[in-house]
């Protein structure tokens, strides 16, 4: 029984099946809302909310935060924040069904978890910065952009994967 459970943890969907369903979902999202999916937008809303709560005058005077602050509603009351909550719920259900839920730091046996966490933090900072400059991340700019043949979406997709392959050599110790 235990072995069975152990095996199931590493069984994922066929990637073409997952990709097909994801494609259908993007299509459905465009059909219903006229826009695509997103992920980094919710984290931006989180930052705007925190800054607006801690230092409201600073947030209102800032050229960037003020774009997302509205007197009528909280910056958390956006489509992308609700969608991100859904992502957490959906992933939790899937992980729960397959027994993948546990507190852990996942890293290659060749590196320490401290190193993994340091690189995760640095990678996150870069991704957060890049996603603001490009106005969207892999979901919002690349994937949803490509679904409607957006030129910017294709450029962002090529830039993300091109640069990740270019930099892969320098980070190889972390993964292989």
């Amino acid at each position: 029984m235990k072995k069975n459970k152990q095996n199931k943890r590493h069984v994922y969907w066929n990637p073409y099946f997952g990709g097909f369903l994801l494609g259908i979902l993007i299509l459905f999202t465009f059909y219903i809302t006229g826009r695509g999916l997103g992920a980094s937008g919710a984290m931006k809303s989180g930052v705007v909310t925190i800054v607006d709560t801690v230092a409201p005058t600073h947030a209102e005077n800032s050229a960037y935060y003020s774009k997302f602050i509205n007197d009528d509603k909280s910056p958390m009351n956006t489509w992308l924040v609700f969608e991100a909550l859904g992502v957490l719920i959906g992933a939790f259900i899937s992980g729960g069904l397959t027994g993948r839920i546990s507190w852990r730091v996942q890293h290659s046996p060749k590196i320490t978890s401290k190193r993994r966490l340091a690189f995760a933090l640095g990678g996150g900072i870069l991704f957060g910065l890049g996603a603001q400059i490009a106005r969207g991340c892999t979901s919002g700019a690349a994937l949803s952009g490509m679904a409607v043949l957006s030129t910017g979406g294709f450029i962002t997709m090529l830039a993300i994967f091109g640069s990740a392959y270019a930099f892969a050599y320098f980070f190889r110790k972390n993964w292989i």
Binding site: W13, Y16, I24, G86, G90, A91, G124
Partner: protein, 196 residues
């Protein structure tokens, strides 16, 4: 005719509920495809696991083909769809920075949320990192503003930019996808297996 909410077929009050439902499916599909594991995601850059390429490319093709089919059959009006705007240098520079972050941290924002949901501590740190990155951008906005707002080309598509026929483009793009899938399977048999 779609899109349903902008055209008033579904009342706008449903927006947030639909957002949560779509998010649940999005999170479920990503997690079930293995995107909550940074080591699986990073595999695409080292050739030991091509799940990212396969899922991502299949999703792009299915949504693209479906979109143009639905437009052709009259279920949606593709001109009403929100097209991600093109800021040429912003897209390139932002994308390059994101690529470095991807291979350093092993996640992108959507996949990190999935990993947070199943308790990966590295993903929680990654999300904190993203928020710090957004904070740095906002505080130093005056530095980034020229890139952020410069080289704006409008909400253009490849059809506007290069005058390509969308149907031919999608057909060729599909063939490129199939070739990439075949190559990735070849590469994977040659690369040393990694267990994670």
């Amino acid at each position: 005719m779609g899109p349903l909410i902008p055209n008033g077929v579904i009342p706008a009050e449903w927006d947030s509920i639909i957002a949560i439902l779509i998010g649940i499916v999005f999170g479920f599909v990503l997690e079930a495809s293995g995107f909550s594991s940074s080591r699986k995601l990073a595999g695409v850059f080292y050739g030991y696991d091509f799940a990212v390429l396969k899922v991502f490319f299949t999703a792009a093709l299915v949504s693209l083909i479906g979109m143009y089919y639905m437009d052709y059959l009259g279920y949606v009006d593709i001109t009403q769809m929100y097209v991600h705007p093109t800021y040429l240098w912003g897209a390139i520079i932002g994308g390059v920075i994101m690529g470095a972050g991807f291979v350093a941290g092993g996640f992108c924002p959507g996949t990190s949320l999935c990993a947070v949901a199943i308790g990966k501590i590295d993903a929680i740190v990654y999300v904190v990192g993203i928020m710090i990155g957004v904070f740095i951008f906002s505080e130093l906005y005056f530095l980034f503003q020229p890139i952020y707002e410069g080289s704006f080309m409008g909400n253009i598509t490849l059809v506007d930019s290069f005058g390509v026929n969308p149907y031919w483009f999608i057909f060729l793009f599909t063939i490129v996808g199939i070739i990439l899938f075949a190559i990735s399977d070849k590469v994977r048999t040659k690369v040393k297996k990694i267990f994670y």
